[in-house]
């Protein structure tokens, strides 16, 4: 490798990493938060069988899963101003990513909720819990650990998909790499460097997932107690 390329890689590293930390990660987290809430609501209106809303949820999921993310991004950023709705690039990206992933997370939550045995709901109702209480106290706490790996999977996908925001003028990790690549005429080196930084971010997320999954198993502590007692 020539000295020049090494020099470019070293000097560009922090230039790419900083927008990665300042833009890509906040964009990922904000979009995921939106998709989490949206997914939860879209799943609950379906399992609770709320007429009208259930139909809306199915329609929403159909549209957002059935059209490309890049097209949704363009509609929101370039299209909506025609209707008088003008958004900055960053909020437009959050909205597009959040609404898109919301459709996927809705299905994750729905299948997790459906996996909880009917008997749990029946027992809750027989001790006097109403439907919202049953959801909050019994169903969702059991559904969440089931949904968790798939949700995290979607989070890692989202981290990488945020690179699409470069196409609507968000100055994030990939946009910066593109700019430096154009300036230095070293696309191979720069895009590989960007890939390595994405890989580092997603590796961190994977570690976080492993750590959280251990925390999520609600009976771990007591299991050890029993094991000790029996030993």
């Amino acid at each position: 490798m020539s000295e020049r390329i090494i020099e470019i890689l070293v000097s560009s590293f922090t230039q790419i990493l900083i927008p990665g930390i300042k833009v890509t990660i906040p964009l990922t987290l904000a979009s995921f938060a939106l998709s989490f809430l949206l997914g939860m609501v879209l799943a609950i209106v379906q399992v609770a069988n709320i007429r009208g809303l259930k139909w809306f949820a199915r329609f929403y999921i159909w549209v957002f899963r059935g059209t490309p993310l890049l097209v949704q991004l363009f509609i929101i950023f370039f299209g909506l101003p025609r209707l008088g709705i003008i958004l900055d690039a960053f909020p437009a990206a959050v909205l597009a990513f959040g609404m898109n992933l919301g459709a996927y997370n809705a299905e994750v939550f729905r299948s997790a909720i459906v996996a909880i045995p009917q008997g749990q709901t029946e027992a809750a109702q027989m001790i006097g819990l109403n439907y919202p209480q049953t959801l909050v106290r019994v169903v969702l706490p059991q559904a969440f650990p089931i949904a968790f790996p798939s949700l995290f999977n979607n989070l890692i996908s989202l981290l990488k998909d945020t690179s699409l925001a470069s196409s609507i003028t968000v100055i994030e990790l990939f946009t910066t790499a593109q700019q430096i690549a154009a300036r230095t005429y070293e696309p191979f080196a720069l895009y590989c460097e960007a890939a390595v930084i994405y890989l580092a971010f997603s590796t961190l997320l994977t570690w976080l997932q492993t750590w959280l999954e251990k925390k999520l198993v609600w009976k771990t502590k007591e299991k050890y107690l029993v094991a000790e007692e029996q030993a």
Partner: protein, 246 residues
């Protein structure tokens, strides 16, 4: 105290309950027996509105309702004084034994946490599960889980407890510990309706027996009388087979 009349229930084209009359008085223990598929479990599930009823009337204390046209609110009112013990226990898997017993008190009945905790521990003591209060359901044996489920039921201070084959999912050696708890409750005058295959338990503990087959009540009466001198040929056949099995 609890009475249902002319109860009809079909699953699709299969009519499971063909006009059942059933009643239970305060302090009574009624055993509901009969072959599989006779509608015993469906009867209990209809009484507690876990199944939607096609037709029928219910009188429960002061309350009287057309069971086919009852609102969710009225159902909750009825369930307030009714408890259900499931064949598969259905303990909340995300809560400890103590949490399971406290849940209805704290969330539904708005009992203060500390009071609920005291009540719950007392109920767990009653079923001999106090030392397992902090265990999660999947750390308990089936018999222990069912005892916790019974503690959860009695903690609600219900007028009547419906037991749906409470020992059918248990190994034979675990059955007795659950039946013992139920015997104690019966002695204390708890009103109970028990769907069961435990004939000895039904004969010893129940004050009255209802024999069901094919969605109708074939015979009912004081348990000694039904067991020792059944009037109907079908009852006689069923009991003979049940004794042979035991």
């Amino acid at each position: 105290m609890l009475e249902v009349k002319n109860l009809h229930k079909s699953f699709g084209t299969n009519e499971v309950l063909k006009g059942i009359d059933f009643q239970i008085d305060k302090g009574e223990v009624v055993a509901i027996i009969g072959p599989s598929g006779s509608g015993k479990t469906t009867l209990l599930r209809c009484i507690s509105f876990l199944e939607k009823v096609d037709a029928g009337e219910i009188t429960f204390g002061e309350l009287h309702h057309d069971m086919a046209h009852i609102t969710q609110r009225e159902i909750r009112r009825i369930r307030f004084d009714m408890a259900f013990v499931f064949q598969s226990f259905n303990l909340f898997r995300n809560m400890t034994a103590l949490g399971n017993v406290m849940e209805g008190l704290v969330t539904a009945r708005k009992v203060h946490r500390e009071d609920a905790r005291k009540t719950a521990l007392e109920m767990l003591r009653k079923v001999g599960m106090e030392d397992r209060a902090m265990y999660y359901p999947d750390q308990l044996s089936g018999g222990q889980q069912q005892r916790v489920a019974i503690a959860r039921a009695i903690a609600q201070n219900p007028q009547v407890i419906l037991f749906d084959e409470p020992t059918s999912a248990l190994d034979p050696e675990l059955t007795e510990e659950v039946l013992d708890v139920m015997r104690t409750l019966a002695k204390e005058g708890t009103t109970m309706a028990v769907v069961t295959h435990e004939m000895r338990f039904a004969m010893d503990v129940a004050s009255r027996v209802v024999f069901m087959e094919g969605g109708v009540v074939v015979e009912e009466g004081p348990s000694k009388r039904v067991f020792l001198e059944p009037k109907e040929e079908r009852t006689r056949q069923f009991l003979r087979r049940a004794y042979d099995a035991e």
